[in-house]
Point group: C2
Chain length 489, copies 2
């Protein structure tokens, strides 16, 4: 004991870059993920929860021959054993799981996964070292019907969680079309290819004219700096411009523009055909262009993926930190990638998948008032007489049996003001009071705390003054009256 006292007290803090989630932060996320899981399940996707800890060897991105292979991951060496690490995403574990269990799993294997991942990166505002991911992937299906299915599922998912039709669009593009464009341009050396890709990425910012300049001689940017161009001729640049501006009035117009952009390229034609198949399948599924759109302006991920790519964007406007209106933007992205498990087995296995930005989608739902608007606090039964806890216990039991969230005050009941302060901190909608007098008369007092707060804020308004925020009801009517007030709040 004496020893213990000499030591300084430990600091009660999360490690740097980590945080805790309280109450509705937890339940709202859980509810949204359950809704998403429901859609995925209906599409035939099976849940997978892989272990949070993987061998560094299986994660693969990090070399075990350096002293500490923790670039970007949290890794440590077990005694007399391998380096292990916390998973940094849900795709690397999927590759390991599919390779490990491929003989037992169905092919194609549709799986979804939801859970925390960990990144050993510099934390920043809103950037934590532990955060949720929510993925769905189809492994072993070479057909773009699998990609179309994922797009349809993404559209259904957004509408199910509360983003109405018209407030989002799933955009679809194809890496193979871009490859066809590069072929049509005659660009085949790697550095020039990368330069073209980087330029395409800037289309959003600099527009068509800007891209023309950057593909050619170069461009003076807004800051006055001169950006060197890729050095292509105008003819060479033409297919890229045609590609970036190929969006037509409908899918068939867009596809026809894309066919022009890719010229005679075989891989390009394959890409356009794939987009056409996707458009046909989605049309058969009843999806409109306002829900899922063939859109060549989707360039994010074109470098990483090998076939179709998709991105879900929320199109309603919000105010940013500086008070300016802007579109909410992307909440999900994905696409087709090859060689998921080749590292393990040597076999090439095609896969396509999508990842939802859990925190961003939650933020969008809060923005739309879909979650977080309901008072979540419990009805608080106050304790006027500490010897009658059994009476108060009976009250909360009655309320709970009626499906009403309720609790009895369990702190020191001496100071009644503290009980109301507690109810306030709990965001309680209603407090119940039963003192000795009430007990004798067979009544209870019911305090509408939400109305009470409104009256306190607007004490001068006649309209509030006329409405009482505290009622007396017979004890036997307590549950019914509470239900009535809650329904009206």
């Amino acid at each position: 004991m004496a020893k213990e006292k000499k030591q300084p007290r430990p600091k009660a803090q999360t490690p740097k870059g980590f945080r805790d989630y309280f109450g509705s932060e937890v339940t709202e996320r859980a509810h949204m993920l359950a809704q998403i899981a429901d859609v995925y399940h209906r599409y035939g996707f099976d849940a997978l929860e892989s272990s949070a800890v993987e061998t560094v060897e299986a994660l693969g991105k990090f070399l075990p021959d350096v002293d500490r292979p923790n670039e970007g991951v949290f890794a440590w060496q077990e005694e007399d054993s391998d380096w292990v690490a916390l998973r940094y995403d849900l795709t690397a574990p999927l590759a390991r799981v599919y390779a490990q269990y491929r003989n037992d799993l169905p092919t194609p294997y549709r799986r979804y996964a939801m859970g925390p991942v960990w990144r050993n990166e510099k934390p920043g505002p809103g950037r934590y070292r532990q955060f949720y991911q929510c993925d769905a992937d189809t492994v072993g299906a070479p057909s773009v019907a699998a990609d179309a299915e994922i797009c349809a599922m993404l559209s259904d998912t957004l509408e199910t969680v509360g983003i109405p039709r018209g407030d989002y669009v799933v955009r679809v593009n194809n890496r193979k079309v871009l490859n066809g464009v590069l072929e049509a341009m005659g660009v085949d050396d790697a550095p020039q290819r990368d330069a073209v890709l980087r330029t395409i990425d800037k289309f959003d910012k600099v527009g068509e004219a800007g891209v023309r300049e950057l593909l050619g001689k170069g461009r003076l940017d807004a800051s006055g700096a001169y950006i060197d161009g890729v050095g292509l001729s105008e003819d060479q640049a033409e297919p890229v411009i045609a590609f970036l501006t190929s969006q037509g009035a409908d899918a068939s117009a867009t596809l026809s523009n894309l066919r022009a952009a890719i010229g005679a390229s075989a891989v390009g034609a394959e890409g356009v055909n794939e987009l056409e198949t996707i458009a046909t399948l989605l049309d058969a599924g009843g999806y409109g262009q306002d829900q899922i759109l063939i859109d060549p302006s989707v360039v994010r991920g074109l470098g990483y993926y090998t076939g179709p790519v998709f991105e879900a964007e929320l199109t309603f406007e919000i105010f940013d930190e500086k008070g300016r209106k802007r579109q909410f933007g992307s909440v999900s992205g994905g696409g087709r990638y090859d060689d998921l498990v080749k590292r393990f087995t040597g076999q090439s296995v095609p896969a396509t998948g999508v990842s939802i930005g859990v925190d961003r989608l939650l933020a969008a739902l809060r923005e739309k008032g879909r979650i977080g608007t309901q008072a979540q606090g419990p009805v608080v039964v106050t304790v006027m007489d500490r010897d009658r806890m059994a009476d108060y216990q009976t009250m909360v039991t009655e309320l709970r049996n009626a499906g009403i969230r309720a609790e009895v005050y369990l702190g020191n009941p001496k100071n009644f003001g503290n009980q109301l302060k507690y109810a306030d901190k709990r965001q309680s909608p209603i407090a119940i009071i039963e003192g000795g007098d009430e007990k004798e008369q067979g009544i209870v007092q019911i305090k509408d705390l939400i109305l009470g707060a409104k009256i306190a804020e607007n004490a001068t308004l006649e309209e509030w003054k006329e409405r009482p925020s505290q009622f007396t009801v017979p004890r036997s009517d307590m549950v019914a009256k509470v239900r009535e007030i809650l329904d009206g709040q």
Copy 2:
């Protein structure tokens, strides 16, 4: 690329002691935890999801001055920074969170937490290094009304997830009563006290006579070894015997027996009074003795906890690995503990809580046939004609819109046998077939795979032969017929 080829392929394996969870293993657990969260929420408990990573300093059990403080935990040192570790339970993080946010949290603070914890221990059969815990605790409530509430909530929880009244009992005891018994015995030196506690723990195995011998001169055990006794006189041993055998016909009989066992001990009287209060509150809440029982034979945890202790036991019988009948046993335990946050703040804060053994409760529900009985596979729409994917896509969309889990076959459709093998692996209840002929006639074939499997098993039975497992229905009746078959399966 050449470099990569020289390296051996990574092994596709979880680290030792870790495992993955597939399909219904994930969804059944998630469903049970959601049901539990629902009950906890109705009781006014708030969700808390603390970070999975804690500083070793905050976890407190492990000393950072040894080279590697990983006894029992997974710990590592961040560059130029503290040792951190994966949480090994949900109580240590609660202590840290309460100390960190105590000025913002309500007092009392009721919180529940569910999630994985990690133990760096030797894995064994059914023992993994990552597993789920599910806890509820009330912090800052000294009153045993908080303990009674937890017992009531535990009873409600078990009935809600599917353990019916009569198949479980929540047993309640109190550490203070035991302290009173030790006082009444005149046992006050620590080693003798510990010896008495160890002996009490053996009551289940050796019975009353055995405990008498072990408290006195000693005992010859079943193996023929002689176990030294504690060396107490018969008079001294009497209070322990009275304590262990004090279970009466009802709570008041038990409490009266306990009062006799503790003699004049003040702390003992306090303990019995607390049990009496708990019994009164639970009676007021409508709980019967068959649900929650004051039971002095609960000794597990008496050493660790400081006041009331509780344990939920499932009373129905199962067959163990050796085919013998035995009671299912404990699925949950808890009690009151002091000084939750004293390490951090120096202040004593009382707390009481309960932990549910997630895997054991899931196993019990499976045993009772409450989960895992329903076929979970999707309806599989087979692909007879790869050019008509849009038709098949339309079919799955119709099925999903009717709330039916359904998928189109996305593998290579050439070999139809493979499609049926796939449906089998998916535990699919129904396959849909539409070839060119069916398309022309406006019909589809519906294959009842569950009935088909039964017929295959019992091919000689007339009753099966008469029932067709494959039907032809008009295309427009497809959804209705599938619904009818699913409802009958």
